[in-house]
Subunit: 380 residues, 2 copies
Amino acid sequence: MESVVVAGVGMTEFGRFPGRTPASLAQEAVRAALVDAGVDPKAVQAAFCGTVFAGPGAGQRALKDLGLVGLPIVNVENACASSSSAVMEGSAWIRAGMAEVVLCVGVESLTRNAGALGPDEDDLFGSMGVVWPAVYGLKARRHMTEYGITAEQLALVAVKNRRHAALNPRAQFRTPITVEEVLASRPICEPLTLLQCCPPSDGASAIVLMTEERARRADTGGRPMVRLAGSAMRSGRFADQAEKGENVTVLTARLAYERAGVGPGDVDACEVHDAFTIGEILHYEALGFCEAGEGGRYVETGKSGLGGGGVVVNPGGGLLSRGHPLGATGGAQLAELTWQLRGEAGDRQVAGARVAVAHTMGGTVYELESNVCAVHVLTV
Amino acid sequence: MESVVVAGVGMTEFGRFPGRTPASLAQEAVRAALVDAGVDPKAVQAAFCGTVFAGPGAGQRALKDLGLVGLPIVNVENACASSSSAVMEGSAWIRAGMAEVVLCVGVESLTRNAGALGPDEDDLFGSMGVVWPAVYGLKARRHMTEYGITAEQLALVAVKNRRHAALNPRAQFRTPITVEEVLASRPICEPLTLLQCCPPSDGASAIVLMTEERARRADTGGRPMVRLAGSAMRSGRFADQAEKGENVTVLTARLAYERAGVGPGDVDACEVHDAFTIGEILHYEALGFCEAGEGGRYVETGKSGLGGGGVVVNPGGGLLSRGHPLGATGGAQLAELTWQLRGEAGDRQVAGARVAVAHTMGGTVYELESNVCAVHVLTV
């Protein structure tokens, strides 16, 4: 099976850009990724575009103006894991020998496509109010009951990710915040407050994947080669550890670690799906960075922050502060981790990072049993 | 590279089913395909769901009630080529060694999601009235001017495909029609009349792909093994031969034929994208069944009809008469051709069929330069 290399990455700033089409956002990210990979658009042999709401033909519409015509282009939708899934498809084509250079794009404009976010006619849960903030609120409450996580510990996730985002010029929110401000912000779904919920965002990300052989021929100025060392995707139950049932993150990460030949103790930097503060806590536990129930203490002792001595989680600011343009998020995670592994992350560099993990979840509330989880392990 | 086998196929009847959800349609097709493949749902290691308008998480929503949880599920959108693209992704996973048994589903309910069909705010062409019927009408007019195709020859495509559909219990329209009826039906975009345009439809299709090694172990009662012998996908210009430019069908078919080691002269049966009668004519020419400009005579001499001595085109009735539930169409083509190659097509059997081609186009009018074309070559 072909080894897969992350040869180039790019992303737009995330934020609210009412004047920009999804195509324009995607084009900016793609241009950056192609330049970063040192390849001409003509070198791209297949492209995959992850988006939820940018509409039919989003990839074709974005790529044609860059001269990307004549190649296979496939649009991929997997909720918040859409661009993580696009990367999975791109890596499958490379591993199958169907292409040597593939482009994976992620794009979303929730400003322009916000109307699409409401519950549909089949969504009994949504129509009763059991939407994502409610689900995460219930999970937070359960963690409090089972393990005693405190409101302050939850808030610290938002504070830490904002501290990281303040060092990331592409993040949507860059002004540092305090625990007091987080707790005093508008209640959304108790115990979660506004600053504990990810924002609606617009933005795009792009990843160029290559065979190792092809990547060796590219001129990358001697920078380290980042490998997509292990990837896994599963559908399953978005459970927390307390529920003892199948937890889709535990099972997916186990596969990805195994494929990459690493374990949780090897991970230096990780981007997790912190759509809400409690999400990050649950994922610390599911990814094996700490024991079940210890997530609150993990953030409180500073271990998941830059320079904290543990796994640095969401060095780019996470969904909470970098922003969450659904289809673009997975690619943005991989872009951030690629910069980290190359030592190009500037003020938010995780010192000596060699192994990094990107984790996304996706799905609809009424399909909690079949949420998508995608985990990619990158190494240098 | 792993050889890929079409191990099981299934589809619903196509038609208007206002009372059925996309999930219910997909489930019916999937159950049929799994039974046909002789495998339990638990054997499926990855699934791909092609749909345009069934909404986020369509695959996950449909598959969970069949116990298909815990596997990777990816939703794929490529306009009318969505399920052809899902099959491409499934075959990539098999060729990459990432799965031995994959399920590719296609589903659409245009009855329930018809609102989604209007032009969007970026669609300058659509808002001016240059929608698909208009584009095909112009192409028909051009073919008349360049090559002298007649209105009667165009109408014969609809008559032939209805004759085939009359033999297909899963087709939406099964009452035979005459050239006079076709020409007398309501004008849509001159010279195209109503009966020369595919209908909006609901339905689903499913295809089970396996490695050859795994397929050999399945109990198939000694029926012939159908191979996905060559597949290709490209974006590009939906041009006709007269335009002399890049024609996406010509280029895609060339690749697929080459990969399968066959040529147009080897093809016994073919399902092409006859969204409008002129489409089928243009595709005869682009796929190499006749010379440029000879498509009208090809249908007039009966060569593309059952028992006509040429390549039997759209033995299942085509988009025109089997119906066109966008995301389900590509899979339905592959189901039909699999039945043909196994000799299971009943009254519409193409005698001695050994090589078959499925062809879909997809895209938005304002992206004529980056239409998707997918061609799959099946052999026994």
